[in-house]
């Protein structure tokens, strides 16, 4: 019986829907990616310019900002 009907037509009849794992993971992935990508680029600039980490710090903050912006645009209502 379980294979016979598609629950999409009648949501809420078959118990609670599964937790939306996909969305949560996407949000976390955006935050980490933002920090890693722009932090990494900042770190490379640090190496190139010779500073001790100021660009990596700025990059990480900017990247997190970008990640939050992406979460709002892609996942927000």
């Amino acid at each position: 019986m379980a294979g016979q009907k598609l629950p999409n037509e009648s949501p809420g009849d078959d118990g609670p829907p599964p937790p939306d794992t996909g969305m949560g993971m996407t949000a976390v992935a955006y935050l980490f990616s933002g920090m890693l990508v722009w932090g990494g680029i900042g770190w490379l600039i640090d190496h190139w310019v010779g500073t001790k980490g100021i660009f990596a710090g700025i990059g990480a903050v900017v990247g997190i900002g970008g990640g939050v912006y992406l979460i709002v645009r892609r996942l927000g209502a």
């Binding site: 598609l6 629950p7 980490f32």
Partner: protein, 262 residues
Amino acid sequence: MIGQSTVLAAEFPPSVEDFYLPSILPWGAHDSYWFTKVTFLIWVAVAAIIIFFLVSYRKPQLVPTKKQWMAESAYGFVRNNIAVEMIGPRGVAFAPYLTTLFMFILLNNFFGIVPLVQISPNSHIAFPAILAVISYFMFIIVGIRHHGFFKYFKTALIPPAPWFILPLLIPIEFFSNFMVRPFSLAVRLFANMFAGHMLLLVFTLGGFAMISSNVWFTPFSIVSWLMTIALTLLEFLVICLQAYVFTVLTASYVQGALADEH
């Protein structure tokens, strides 16, 4: 199990070496990992799934037999609660792959707590990695076939945003969509199975180490073994959850590849 564990108990703090089991073919050879217990378990899982689904669906009845009911419930669960729920009506096309994936991961994880077997092939990163690579290429190919090459990468990489922050956002999108995804899929499954096996080893072998070092430690050993049993039950939850999460995430990536522009 007791014989096996007493042999292992000599080296108490368990290490990564404990995941490299002795070679079966050639028997007892050192540094040969072509055919070990892990290889054997993988083939057992493959055979078990194929045979189970073939046998249970050989003579399908309108009123299902017990075996047919089990197979249909497994397929129905993945189709309705994962494929259709995440992807929508188009998800039915992906239900066979997702069911295979789910059953394969579930069974392989489950080997981690079967008495006398008690190691999951997924605690070697090679197996989750290959599964993640398959899912990775699948969602990219699905996206390219649905949208066309350029349009797919345009939807995947260019978020709806004003042009002047796009240079900031596109690297983040690329990194999170095409680099973090396969990596996190593989590592999540691998790390859970690895840690679970390690945990069980620590408590089992710890019990043996204590009891053999001092007879007065016997009560602590017994507590340690009771903990092993409790952790095995916890491990069962992790096993089901990780199989579910891997499948749900694959479905969600496919959904993202099929999604139309915002």
